[in-house]
Amino acid sequence: MTADPRAPQAARNLDLDRLLAHHKLMWRIRAFEEAALRANTDKLVLGAIHPSIGQEGVAVGVCSNLRTDDILASTHRGHGHTLAKGADPTAMMRELLGREGGTSNGKGGSMHIADFSVGMLGANGVVAANIHITAGAAHAIKLRGEDRVACSIFGDGAINRGPFLEGLNWAKVFELPALFVCEDNGYASTTRTADMTAGKGPAARAEAIGLPAMEVDGNDVVALDEAVRDAVAAIRAGGGPRFINAKTYRLTGHTAADPDGYRARDDVAAAWKRCPITRLAQTLADAGVRGDQLASHERDAIEEMDAVYDDAKAAPWPPLSRAFADVQDVGDPRNGAY
C-alpha cells in the first residue's frame, strides 16, 4: 500500500484550513529548532540536542491525527513531536536550558523532554526504548477499554534493536491500539542505515510480523496526513496495530555539534529542495493561498520562538533540593536513605 507518487498534489481534495495549520505548525517547529541551535551556540544548552530540521513533516503529519489524550512516546530527536503533540514551547525551551519551569523542571533536558498533560510520555535517550513503552501504554488502554491510541515515532536506526521485534510482536499478539512510525531519514548518527540493515527495510519487517505497513513520503505532509488519518481511524476502531515508514531527511547534523562530514554537500543541498515546509508552501500557493499569508507563518513562528528563548534565558536555575526530589517514595533520599 504505497501512496501513488504520481498523483499531482493539486488534484487531491485539499482541506486548506487544515493544511494552513500544518504549515504554521511546521514553521513553529522549525523556529523552535533554530532557536535551540542558537541557544546551543550561545552555550546555554549544555547537553546534546538533536534538531529535527527537515523532518517537521513527520511530526505534524503524525501528531495532527492524534487527540490530546492519545499517547506519544518519542526519541532523542523529539522536540518537533513534542511541540506537535501540544506541549508548551516556553516550558520546552526552559527544559533545554535546564531551568525552573521546564517540562521536567530542568531534570531531563532535550533528550527527556516530556509532557504527560498532553499525552507525551517522553523523548528517550535510549534508541528504540520508546517502542516498548508505547506497546505498554497501548496495552493499558486496551485493558481499560478506552478508545485512545498510543503512537511511537522512532528512527530507522531503531529497527536494528530488539524492541522493534519484541514490541511490534507484542502489539500484534495482543492486537493493541498502537501506531508505529519509523522516521526514516536514512542515517543513524554518522552511518548510512542501509549499510547496517539487512533485508528490505522497516515496512517489510513490520509486515513480516503481521502489521499492515505502508511507505509514505514523510516530506509530503499532505500524503502523510492522509495515511496517518486512515491508520489511526482503523486502529481506533479496534483494527490492531499498524506501521508507517515515513521517508524523510535530516537537514542538519545528527546533533548540534555534528559537522556532518559523512554526507556529500550536494546531497544535502538537493534535500533542501525537498524540505517539507517548502513543499507544502508550494502546494498551498498552487491552491491559491497568498504568499504574504504563508510568509506571516514564518514571521510569527520566529517571533514566538525568539520570545520563548528570551524567557528561558531569564528563567532561574532549579533549586538544588530538586536534585533529591522524585527519586522514590520508599527510600526517599531526603529521608536519610542514602
Binding site: A114, A129, W170, G331
Partner: protein, 323 residues
Amino acid sequence: MVTMTYGEAAKNALHEEMQRDPTVWALGEDLRRGGVFGQYKGLPEIYGPDRISDAPISEAAIMGVAVGAALSGTRPVVEMRFADFALCAVDELVNQAAKARYMFGGQAKVPIVVREPMGMWRSSAAQHSQSLESWYTHIPGLVVVCPSSPVDNYGLLKSAIRCDDPVVYMEHKNLWALEGEVDNNDPLPLGRCRFLRKGTDITLVSWSATVHETMAAAKTLNDAGASVEVIDLRTLWPWDKERVFDSVKKTGRLIVAHESVQAGGFGAEIAATVSDVCFRELKAPVKRLGAPRVPIAYAPPLEDTVRVTAAMIAETARKLMKM
C-alpha cells in the same frame, strides 16, 4: 493464624491485591499455566487472560510494556521467571522504570513489581542460580526486597504492589515449598528488618534463604552459651540502618551473611556503613560471608562448595567471640 507455603503466601497476597485494586495485573511467560513454580496457580481462572496475562519470551518487552502500562494508570506485576532472565531487560528496568519519574520531573511514577526468583536450586547451574540483588541496590529509584518466609512473602508482596516505586521483588527458588504461619492480613512495611532472635553477644544479618542458615547457626551458638541477635533485613533498599546500628552498638559484633558473591555484595555496603557509624562500639572487625567469585556449578558437590552454610557462620561467630 494459617499455615501456608512461601509460594502460596505470595499467591494469596497477589489474589487479595488484585481483588482490592482492579488496576493490578500480572504478565509473564506461562502465567496462564500457573507460572513455572506454580506461584500463580488458580489465579488465571479467577481473573482471566487480561489480568493474568501470558507473554511471549520477550523479557525486554515484558518489562518495557510494564513501564508503559504503569505510566498509563495500571499497576503491573512483572514475572521474570528466573532473576537471570531479567538481565535481558536491564535497559527497561534500569534506564526506564527507575529513571522515568526523575527524568520527567515527577510527572509520573512507575508502580511496577518485578518478581525475580533468585538463588541456587536443584543443580540449575550458572544461568539459573544467580543472586544479583546487590546490583539493584545500586540503582537510584529502585526498591529491593528479598523475603525469607511465608509471612514476609505475603505481607511484603502486598506492600510492593501498593508501592508507587518500581520494586525488584526477589523470591528464593529454594523456599517455594517452605511452610510457615501467616498471622495477619496486613501488608508489612518495606524498609523494615525483622528481629528473628534477640541477643547481646553478636549480631547476625542476612536475607533470603541464607536467613535459615543464619538461624541454624544461631541455635548452635546459643546451645554453646552465646546470646545471638539475628536480623532478617527483608528489604535491601532502603535497608533498615538504624535498627542494625542499634543492634551492633549493643552487641559490638557483626556478621553479614548472604548467598550472592561476596565481592561487591550488599554485605560490603552494610559492613562499611556499620564500621563507620559503630566504630567505637565494635569489639571485633565486621565480617562478611558470601560466595566466592565463581559462577555456580551444576554438580551438587560443586554447587555446595560455594554455599554459605550454618557451620561457616557459626565458626566465624565463634572466632569473633573467641569461643
